[in-house]
């Protein structure tokens, strides 16, 4: 299974590795699921964590390397970005939809705006939907 994951999923997992989000990341380390995220989400995390939790540059680098996620560059999902930004204004949120559309997989997020959005054939799911599937 391939999924595009939002920053809030990373945060939930890191907060509690025994949570559903944590288990999803563990599954990714075992290559039972393929997780992708976007350059936009990465930038968002690199902005939030130093500002709110005092992460240093080295700590950020270590964290990003430890997450079992493939970070996709903007060029990969660029063609869908303009259309996605018309649906959800926030660029990081739009990047999730654009990326999932290009890869042909679902988005997992806890963000209400993204959950309520309709974009091409992209399914946006909550983590709990995924665990009950």
């Amino acid at each position: 299974m391939r999924l595009v994951v939002d920053a809030n999923i990373h945060f939930s997992a890191l907060y509690n590795m025994d949570s559903t989000a944590g288990r999803l990341l563990f599954l990714a380390t075992e290559e039972q699921v393929e997780l992708f995220s976007t350059e936009h989400v990465k930038k968002e995390m690199m902005r939030i964590l130093p500002a709110k939790l005092g992460y240093s540059g080295d700590e950020m680098e270590g964290l990003m390397a430890a997450l079992p996620v493939e970070w996709l560059e903007r060029e990969i999902y660029e063609e869908a970005m303009a259309e996605a930004t018309a649906i959800v204004r926030d660029e990081a949120d739009a990047s999730l939809l654009a990326c999932a559309s290009v890869l042909g997989c679902d988005v997992v997020t806890g963000d209400k705006r993204v959950l309520a959005s309709k974009f091409r054939n992209v399914k946006v799911r909550r983590l709990r939907e995924l665990s009950s599937a």
């Binding site: 809030n8 590795m17 063609e79 559309s101």
Partner: protein, 86 residues
């Protein structure tokens, strides 16, 4: 759905391409012997299976370390997850 960049390789295809190409690594004899011993003792079917397992263990350990740091910072600042994403 289409791709605008000609250089793009689907990550799934890329992974398959990497999997089918076997290669060798250079280690000291001591390390080699330790790996062979570990493989036999733990009952792994191949060196590939042992190394794969060690890699997964390492990745999980790293995640736990990062989770520990993250949680400590959150607790120290008395923050909830919602404070991060606002």
């Amino acid at each position: 759905m289409g791709f605008s960049g000609a250089k793009y390789i689907d990550p799934y295809i890329y992974r398959i391409m990497k999997m089918v190409k076997a290669t060798s690594i250079s280690v000291t004899e001591t390390t080699r012997n330790e790996l062979v011993l570990l493989k036999v003792k733990e009952g792994y079917s191949s060196m590939e299976a042992l190394l794969k397992h060690l890699i997964v263990r390492h990745k999980k350990q790293r995640l736990l370390e990062e989770s520990d740091r993250f949680r400590q910072r959150m607790l120290k600042r008395r923050m909830a997850l919602k404070d991060l994403v606002e």
